[in-house]
Symmetry: D3
Amino acid sequence: MKVSVFRKEHFNAAHRLNNPAWDAETNAKIFGKCNNPNYHGHNYELIVEVAGEVDPNTGYVMDLKILSDLIKTEVLDPFDHKNLNLDTTEFAELIPSAENICIVIYNKLRTHLNPLNDLRITLYETERNYVQYPVK
Amino acid sequence: MKVSVFRKEHFNAAHRLNNPAWDAETNAKIFGKCNNPNYHGHNYELIVEVAGEVDPNTGYVMDLKILSDLIKTEVLDPFDHKNLNLDTTEFAELIPSAENICIVIYNKLRTHLNPLNDLRITLYETERNYVQYPVK
Amino acid sequence: MKVSVFRKEHFNAAHRLNNPAWDAETNAKIFGKCNNPNYHGHNYELIVEVAGEVDPNTGYVMDLKILSDLIKTEVLDPFDHKNLNLDTTEFAELIPSAENICIVIYNKLRTHLNPLNDLRITLYETERNYVQYPVK
Amino acid sequence: MKVSVFRKEHFNAAHRLNNPAWDAETNAKIFGKCNNPNYHGHNYELIVEVAGEVDPNTGYVMDLKILSDLIKTEVLDPFDHKNLNLDTTEFAELIPSAENICIVIYNKLRTHLNPLNDLRITLYETERNYVQYPVK
Amino acid sequence: MKVSVFRKEHFNAAHRLNNPAWDAETNAKIFGKCNNPNYHGHNYELIVEVAGEVDPNTGYVMDLKILSDLIKTEVLDPFDHKNLNLDTTEFAELIPSAENICIVIYNKLRTHLNPLNDLRITLYETERNYVQYPVK
Amino acid sequence: MKVSVFRKEHFNAAHRLNNPAWDAETNAKIFGKCNNPNYHGHNYELIVEVAGEVDPNTGYVMDLKILSDLIKTEVLDPFDHKNLNLDTTEFAELIPSAENICIVIYNKLRTHLNPLNDLRITLYETERNYVQYPVK
């Protein structure tokens, strides 16, 4: 009897989409306003879903306080109020698109969770643009 | 050609997380503020998803007015403005965690729906903490 | 490594639920207020999900600007500020229930997307009533 | 010690913006898509604010159940799932712009409320366009 | 050049509306479901507005981190995950209606803020019922 | 008979809070994470309120399409997907706090609006932190 539990958090960051293998003109054409050399930024809304069996002793899949603390250590501390391109190792050579940020967050959290539990990440870059990994 | 239809409802209730097999100290440690002996409460947001074939005569999977009435009878009437621990039979001996409330609501609605239709329950305890059963 | 990307758009339209094979009394009984002969209307919120592999050159599943433009051409231009029953060919003989609108939008967008990508449509008729196709 | 209490309700309606004193070309130019002869529609979100002294016996400015019932009788029953131009007397000769709907709702509710209480109406035509009367 | 700054916080609590000067029948009639002797509960959304001059050295009316800390000490610590009737001194003899909670929060915060700044409290008991003090 | 009309828009930008008259240590202490030298960013939600008489010919205070176009020219074009400190003249020497951005937007729009109409700006930096000018 598996149930999914969800925890919503948020962080604010600056980023720039740019592929160093391309010249400036190609980057401007492909990434448009997101290629601004001086960066722009977002309020990222993050939803972490953990699916697993309910523990009959607690009625919990997992304590959401523990999940919230884990998200703080693994995601908010390194990414909140940061420039993703300049202030992180994860995006030093990886384009910080919403898709890539979502996969990076998945990988950072996955190693700290019970292997019997499933994990899914949803990341809102704006209210109208968001991504999810893995796909349902 | 199956489509899912969703109906959102809400109810307000008091509850307390406590495992009678444990002593007070253990309960306080495991459940933290949710163990308050005098209860606390929530605005529960409930989303009921029913998946099934579209009836070509109506364009409906099912009439959402009928689904809304069913949710009223089975969920809102027994749970709204109630103390889940004291005023309900369902949680007299079951910890009213969001996970357990979600499964109880699933079971209450399941018996009243067309067996050919699939059912999924999403329950928000707060805007930032929510659960879903069955898992997608 | 498939990721889903989502784009949210909206349109406003008038519609009426009515089955011409039935008499007025039956239509009024089945569709209730939605059968009003003079129409009523909604702010439809539309969420388009496209699932696919992330292109390592861009970090994108697909450029959401291109998806947004496609939704504009295929959905917003024909449906926004329109009477779905009278101003569209799609619903001239099909009941414009949320379920049917959802399937129609799926079919209109499907032919324009990469066949390797999966598509899912979520359509909010009100904040409390919404539908999804295909089912998860 | 005056406090404001707010009650949020909603209704769905079709409407058309058209000034019969103007020719078709002028109406199309001034009202754009909102002039569609076959109507379009909205989910109207309505917020009713009543300001007054707190009754020490109840802790209430007024019972929000009574306010909700009044809004149902005066606003939802005549306007919900209706064509504002064709199905109402209020907009038979008055352009059903958000501004005018807001003033009409104010006038309909004003006569039923305690004259010592202040009233203010906020009406959302879409999530991005809304109006308020009287002005703060 | 006065600007208002707003900080949104939330807390969860149980409460019961009951006037000890009345008999049980009168209380049940006046307060309806809110009179449940075993309590019910809410997710209270709290918005604190502080109006004042902008400090040219910081661009701030006041540091919202300081305001957030003050709200934590004065409101969240005493009220969050509490039974307002049983666990607080403020509502030991005052009916914990939304109106009264709003005024109590105003008074608790007012003494800690710069007297040159104006304060206004908005409190959501549910998404559809909320209150504000002082009145605009 | 004055009515307020509101138009909601949004833009994404990077910024940094820093007072050049102070040394690095003081700036870090006063502005905390918002002082990050590499910038961070936000999705700014902007609400523009215009109050005025309703034109009986249109039922409008003003055409919201015209207001939306004005916001695009005066606010979104210069600020969206920009670094407020580096890419704008307005914040070259003014700290881009939410308060200052709000006043700057007010001044930019004020000169283009009918002097008989009142203007008020609300700016959300995050869902929980926002500002308003002038004060109500």
